[in-house]
Amino acid sequence: MNEAELRIAPGNCSATADVIWRALKGLQSLCNRVGTEDEGVIGLARRGWNNIAAQQVHRRRDASMDAQSARERTIEAYQLHAGVLLAYSHRLTRDDALAQDALQETFLRYFLALAQGEDIRNVRAWLHRVAHNYVCETLRSARIRTAVSLEDAGEERLRDERSMPDADRAADWIDAARQLLAPREWQCVQLRAEGFDYTEIATELAIRPGTVGSLLHRASEKLRIRLRKKEGSA
């Protein structure tokens, strides 16, 4: 074993390098079996990396874009979605500064994703998911004990419409509904009220669109039964 091999030998390196080390050993034995000249692990590593890099760069060159195009697309997306996303972040945080931070951070991550060649098909759902994750991470790391659960878009709208005679009743009803439904069902209802379609909700929650339908149906049934009981007792 030469000096180069010793430097990335297990025990001398991080867990990631350890995984790479084992992969390279496998690669080396494969090369030996097929008769490739033994050029050492580091030589193989260098060749392997160059190949991977070349393949990925080649593959991404068609699908992705350079940093300038990524920047332009990010600004376009900002102009399209920033208002809605800020309202969403504000509902999550109840804090103007944190909501603004979440907005900026979400679009910076969007830029990085585009620059890295990520294929984002549903921009709106992607942005909402990243904003949601960012807010959750921030609140968790700051150990803020406020509820991280989403505030309902319907609730916000109904609070705006204070002139409606049913507004107070609706707010009570929404609180009751939140307690009644399972967290995942409640999340689906919230996103549906936000205007998302089934596919977008599925993308955001990382579930199948069929499951979204089931969750919404179950939520709807629970609420209907609850309402009937309430009306019966009144």
Binding site: T16, Y78, G83, A115
Partner: protein
């Protein structure tokens, strides 16, 4: 969209939904943040592919190169860092992204890039 009206007629919206004053407020507030984002994106996109001569690099470019070298060393070891540097081309986020993506995955690479460009 009238989700709640489906369950109870009392919650049915009486008027077609128009943009509320709250929505307009958020739109205006979001528009005010565009300048800040644009400034940040301009800097980041300039730093993304550092194809300038190492001798005439700015402080920000040097900082990014240093951070990147540290991450490569931390993830793959010192030897690999020097091997990659030895290819002659300067290490940049654009050139190192495929390698990081191959070994760490897309999300981790994005997070790594964010940390490299943080506070710049």
């Amino acid at each position: 969209m009238n989700l709640f009206g489906k369950w109870h007629p009392g919650l049915m919206r009486r008027k077609p939904q128009t943009a509320s004053s709250r929505d307009v407020h958020f739109e205006a507030e979001a528009a005010s943040g565009l300048d800040e984002l644009q400034t940040r994106l301009n800097q980041w996109s300039d730093l993304w592919s550092q194809d300038t001569d190492p001798a005439i690099r700015t402080a920000a470019q040097k900082l990014v190169a240093e951070r990147l070298a540290r991450w490569i060393e931390r993830c793959f070891g010192q030897h690999v860092e020097s091997a990659l540097r030895g290819k002659g081309t300067p290490i940049s986020l654009a050139s190192s992204t495929p390698i990081f993506t191959a070994f760490l995955g897309r999300r981790a690479t994005r997070e790594l890039s964010r940390r490299v460009l943080q506070d710049i």
